[in-house]
Symmetry: C2
Subunit: 431 residues, 2 copies
């Protein structure tokens, strides 16, 4: 680890002072995964003029077969976008036929004009695909507070319909990008009973949320046949340990949306009536896995990120307490800048644990970076040698282990470092 | 405002990309105030070798006359430093004779060795000044987790005693600095009845907290005669609207300490028995004023700060809600980087209001920057022209006004922008 990191940097330079805005995140996966069809799903991604730069894809449409169920989680922001309001209203029905997602404009803080745009988009899609407006899910990401003509997106759906195809996953993933430096996709195959089902999805996000870019979106499609109430339980559980366990900058979007669509087209699948059904075990694992994969890709594309950071907390009073402590560490600008500076500054971890507000005991706190235990029971490990840890910090995958030593709660949070790149991107984004 | 800002920067450059670490904050006051004696207080600030650089002041001792009362507020961190534990234990007695503050070492996360050091320091000071150990208040700021010899500070107090003087305020303020770029002092004279009393104090802090530097310390001395329980009420109220209303980076120190000492040496002052006594009105105002002055100086010395930011929130459900919304805006990395980039990015303010979790209604939200109203009732003001606001953003004092439009709660929070300088300072501090 230390070597692979060191090899990328000339000695004496630091991640924090490297060229700040790479065209592709250094933490990106090598390539977009090869994604096959999900029975009952066709997609298209195209450029329709919502983004400033001509020819850059900015509209995604997905058509799902009749009978598709849907579940999802939406931002807890008290100032949500018009599309989020719309999805929240129609989600309890659990039925979906069309998904329309645009980038380039968030349709947030656009008042009545924003609601009108959503209504026109849903209405036009319903007309074109022969379904009801409330079967049409909508998400938008981009600049806040700049209303577009209410029929702008609606007028583009007809043209998109012609190019729908079962393999257009990469196009779709690209069409929802904002400041993302790479498209994010993931796919899994898994059995429910004897039936093989596919899960494929894509996501966007680069600040945990950056309101101008209206943050994190994730869409996963499966051909499994799962009733909406069961699907909703599965989504909540999986999202809690994936999308809800990442942070880039602690900011929460007006537009965060994660949706899971199940077309029910897989052949020979046993009937599912409960989320506790043991036949779902593999599916649940695969769903969590694909959510974690997409969530981690978002962190790997964190604005300005040079290092991918895993924070494991154990010994907390409860699972919830472990998450809160983990997020306090992950969101601390001082911890994040220390990691950017390749400084094994465990004192800042102590600080972050202290400020989290959860039960902690200074004299029971143990901290490790990578393979090295640094403190145990509130004091430096006898004979602690910083040299190997300093070498470890030069790598681009950093793990911080914290044991609060007071209970059995544990949890993991993923984040990235805070670099000059983040400042450059966000001090200059809109203008 | 726009002009004075613009004149400092060549057009096209941005605060965020300016030389990142100034030797003195561009927001610093012109000079340390002229501070006269406070009857019953003598101080000294000297270099005793705790800091790396030889000859840099790092120990401060203040002696207060017998009869001095004390009140204070301490960090809420669950991993407080040994001196904070000590102050918390002795503060309820309300009596003080000596204050010993060192920089260069936080004495935090130092286990039993840290407690031992505190005990030796208090014991030695008690011996030298003829008081009890529990009359000795102690604060430490600097690197975390590096225990010093337990008698190191104790062994220096005797030498300091000889140089105590009634006018050594600037020396004292300098001796408690860490990454501060200027010493922070403030003084006021005010009447209680017919007696003129003085309030003089100093503070340090440059990250709202930076654990390595162990954050924010503030000490104010007065010759008023005020019983400790009354003093404690006054401190809580004043701290809430000053030190608790500032943030640089949302991080909370292991060591935050604010103490107010009242020597009771002023002549002819009426007896005070209640914090509600009307004769205290001017004193209360002056106390809040001096706390706000010191707190704002800390923000003006915020790590990497190029702009001083005032966030006024009104129309909130309650005073507490207004504070929470104000802090959510002030702590948002996206709002702070937008201000660094001189971008009137009100969309990020919407995001921050939304994530605060307090009651808000998108369609009632009004936002203004400086003199310009940008949104009213959830939509852009008709004919909004960004040009004058963009010019305003080039100044180094930025005011953001938010009206939630749902209640009567209001509050003000002060912060600074988030610049490349913050990253540079914090990615490189310890090593």
């Amino acid at each position: 680890m230390a070597k692979s990191g060191a090899s990328k940097k000339t000695s004496g330079t630091r991640a924090a002072t490297k060229s700040p805005v790479p065209t592709r995140s250094p933490l990106a996966p090598a390539r977009f995964p090869s994604m096959g069809p999900v029975a009952g799903v066709r997609l298209a991604g195209r450029a329709v003029g919502l983004k400033k730069h001509k020819g850059v894809k900015d509209l995604m449409v997905a058509e799902m077969a009749p009978g598709t169920t849907v579940a999802g989680v939406l931002t807890r922001s008290k100032c949500p976008s018009a599309p989020v309001d719309w999805c929240r209203a129609i989600l309890p029905r659990g039925k979906a036929r069309v998904l329309v997602v645009n980038s380039g404009n968030a349709n947030a803080f656009t008042g009545n004009a924003g609601d009108l745009q959503v209504a026109q988009t849903a209405g036009e899609a319903a007309h074109l695909f022969g379904c009801r407006a409330r079967d049409v899910f909508i998400a938008s990401t981009g600049v806040i507070g700049e209303p577009r003509a209410p029929d702008y997106i609606a007028s583009k759906i007809g043209g998109m319909k012609k190019s729908l195809a079962v393999k257009s996953w990469k196009n779709a993933a690209e069409a929802i990008m904002t400041t993302d430096t790479f498209p994010k996709g993931a796919t899994r195959k898994v059995k429910i009973g004897k039936a093989e089902v596919t899960l494929s999805g894509f996501a966007k996000g680069s600040g945990m949320i950056a309101p101008d870019m209206a943050t994190m979106l994730g869409f996963v499609f499966t051909d499994a046949k799962i009733p909406a109430p069961v699907l909703q339980r599965l989504v909540r559980t999986a999202a809690d340990e994936s999308f809800n366990a990442i942070t880039v900058d602690s900011d929460t979007s007006t537009s965060d949306t994660v949706l899971l669509f199940a077309t029910g087209q897989a052949k020979g699948q046993p009937r599912i009536t409960s989320s506790a059904d043991k036949v779902l075990a593999n599916f649940k694992a695969a769903l969590k896995d694909i959510f974690v994969d997409l969530a981690q890709q978002i962190v790997r594309d964190g604005e300005g990120a040079q290092k991918f950071v895993t924070i494991n907390v154990r010994g907390a009073e409860s699972k919830k307490a472990a998450r809160i402590v983990g997020l306090a560490i992950a969101n601390s600008p001082l911890v994040k800048t220390a990691i950017a500076g390749e400084d094994p500054n465990w004192g800042r971890v102590v600080m972050a644990v202290g400020k989290a507000g959860e039960k902690a005991d200074r004299d029971k706190l143990s901290i490790g970076f990578g393979e090295t235990q640094i403190t145990r029971n509130g004091q430096l490990v006898h004979g602690y040698d910083e040299a190997p840890v300093a070498a470890y910090m030069k790598g681009d995958e950093i793990t911080v282990d914290v044991d609060l030593g007071i209970g059995r709660g544990r949890g993991t949070v993923w984040t990235c470092d805070l670099t000059h790149g983040y400042i450059t991107i966000n001090a200059d984004y809109r203008s």
